[in-house]
Amino acid sequence: MFELLGISSQALFGQLLIGLINGSFYALLSLGLAVIFGMLNIINFTHGAQYMLGAFTAYFLLRYAGLGYWWAIIIAPIVVGITGIIIERLFLQWLYKLDHLYGLLLTFGLALIFEGTFRNFFGSSGLPYSVPPTLQGGQNLGFMFLPNYRAWVVAFSLAVCLSTWFVIERTKLGSYLRAATENPTLVRAFGINVPRMITLTYGFGVALAALAGVMAAPIYNVSPQMGANLIIVVFAVVVIGGMGSIMGAIVTGFGLGIIEGLTKVFFPEASNTVIFIIMAIVLLIRPAGLFGRAT
């Protein structure tokens, strides 16, 4: 077809598709972070560790309970979500009135504890987890070979992201949540149990991270480091999208995945840093992020 800077169009489309797939992980994770920050004003550094916990739960379910991938997709987010709720009740609820930095320090410390504990027991090379039999194999699209599992990842992430956005922005429950964040006292006066809402929201954000972890388990290594590598990039995505904006996190996640994919084709050595370069530029031009509201 056509050639662009020495790369054939076939190779280019293949890389764009890969970028989209990676972008779906960024989108899922940054969605959880954006929900937690937007609703709770907590910078949840434990997000990467909770992503890792989701993958490990899937591994344990397979290894010790014989429950496969489809069970894990439902059970793991619930289990890790519950641990998230415990964390919120035990630690985070005391920090809402304080500076953001305390929440950041606490969650960062928790992340180090989780990762260190798992690394102590499981090492760092990772544990095997295979693609579920129904999703193995792939389609030859002509310009590339697309594994079925990766196609599923894009489709499912998109569905989850859009339904979350819909619930928060367009339903009554979502409007209670948004109101409770802006003015908790007034909302409480209306008889709505605000602390319980906040707890459940944190649990939901954590469950999203765990869901991303389960989806990552078959293709990336199930290792204690998997979250640490990803979390910094996800934070950059959330900052670029705007810290409180749900749609911003989703759009930026997919968009940056594609840009990173293109960088891997034209200048692979920079693929680790391109997202941060974009973040620096965006912060200079629009400090609140692309979709964020200036507070």
């Binding site: 293949g14 090492g123 095997p128 293709i219 990336y220 290594n221 998997m226």
Partner: protein, 403 residues
């Protein structure tokens, strides 16, 4: 008066007759530095500290009246962190020898520091053959393996069986570059062609984009010039994208038994790799593995761990013979003068350029049906004799070698 004086003189003479060994600080301090928490922590990590401890015990240091202390540190695969640790160790903690140090960029930095401070550097984990080439020093011995030996083993074997077009997936730092350079040289020397290469950031997570480029090149062999978790992920994702079904083969240029364990035999079967040591090769190795594994979460020793054991053993022998550990150059010269002999590597020798010589082995990963249990992963395909396994002394470009 005169009699008293002569008697006293006699006593002093006899008193000084037996020379006491003078170790700096009274202790021989061994510093084991490697990646304790990241990509390379399973193949080296805490296991290397365990191996060093076992070496000291088996040497019988306590019985010989030698006080030996072992300290460990994490360099996190960063040259600046590694350099700081080594400087503090040498200046403040009086460490006499640095052992292991995987991650070639860190090893090359430590190489310079140890030479400037005249201590000893025994490299087991790092691979870059530059350590016995242009960057060789009189204070460093490269013990276990290097990129040239890997290229010569795996690269040559694969080209000879028909894999004559290559595409490299390289970790973008010193080790990856060295391995790619040495393997490309071997491929071209044996009649093959390098069709292209792509460099991925180190450490990486997702290799799908790079694998896609490798697929598009239509090279018969995709050479993975990376290690540890990077290699594991590359192989996993390659099988996902149907690369082997499409007729291309992967060459894991540096793979350890811990990688195969993480991949599982189903994915890893058929992989060909070159290693310097395997726990199931003979009885001495098996006995070592049996003692080592319970101390390291059941993980069986890799060639890096065995190299640490062997290097520490030989170091202690040299220090015992010299009765001193103060002068790094002198200790290394003694280590080069004495032939090596330990229960893991058998008899060997350390060359003038600091290269330890021993046979290398070409292994193939067993099929799941062929394995009798966990860690029973390799079958031996060939033994490369010691005099062929490493780069010839004259070819290295090491300033210590007089041509």
């Amino acid at each position: 008066m005169k009699r008293l004086f002569s008697l006293t003189a006699l006593a002093v003479v006899f008193g000084c007759g037996c020379a006491q060994a003078q170790y700096t600080d009274g202790t021989i301090k061994i510093g084991v530095m490697n990646d304790m928490s990241g990509t390379y922590s399973d193949l080296s990590g805490q296991g290397s500290v365990i191996a060093a401890r076992m070496a000291v015990e088996d040497f019988g240091a306590a019985a010989k009246g030698m006080k030996v202390e072992i300290v460990g540190a994490d360099h996190q695969n960063k040259p600046d962190v590694g350099s700081n640790v080594v400087r503090t160790w040498i200046d403040v903690d009086k460490v006499d020898v640095i052992v292991d140090v995987p991650t070639s960029s860190v090893a090359l930095a430590v190489n310079e520091i140890v030479r400037d401070k005249n201590k000893v550097f025994l490299v087991s984990g790092a691979a870059a053959s530059d350590l016995t080439g242009p960057k060789c020093t009189p204070n460093t011995i490269h013990w276990t393996y290097d990129t040239w030996a890997l290229a010569n083993g795996t690269g040559k074997a694969i080209v000879k069986t028909g894999g004559d077009t290559w595409f490299f997936l390289t970790a973008d730092y010193a080790f990856g570059h060295a391995l790619e350079r040495d393997t490309a040289a071997v491929v071209e020397k044996n009649g093959g062609k390098v069709l292209g290469k792509v460099r991925h950031p180190f450490p990486g997570t997702d290799f799908s984009s790079f694998l896609l480029q490798a697929q598009a090149s239509k090279a018969k062999i995709i050479g993975l010039a990376n290690a540890g978790a990077d290699t594991i992920n590359s192989i996993k994702q390659a099988s996902e994208f149907g690369i082997t079904q499409g007729g291309q083969n992967l060459a894991a240029l540096l793979a350890f038994i811990t990688d195969v364990h993480a991949l599982g035999l189903q994915t890893a079967q058929g992989l060909i790799m070159t290693e310097a040591w395997y726990w199931d090769l003979n009885d001495a190795n098996r006995e070592f593995a049996k003692k080592f594994a319970p101390q390291d979460r059941g993980v069986h020793p890799t060639m890096v761990h065995a190299g640490v054991y062997s290097a520490v053993t030989h170091y202690l022998k040299a220090v015992e013979a010299l009765k001193s550990d103060a002068d790094g150059k002198a200790v290394v010269a003694k280590m080069k003068e004495m032939p090596t002999d330990d229960k893991l590597f058998g008899k060997g020798v350390v060359r003038a350029d600091g290269r330890k010589i021993h046979p290398m082995y070409l292994f193939e990963v067993k099929k799941p049906a062929e394995s009798k249990g966990p860690w029973d992963y390799y079958k031996l395909r060939a033994t490369i004799p010691a005099d062929e396994a490493f780069r010839p002394l004259a070819d290295g470009g090491c300033p210590l070698v007089k041509s």
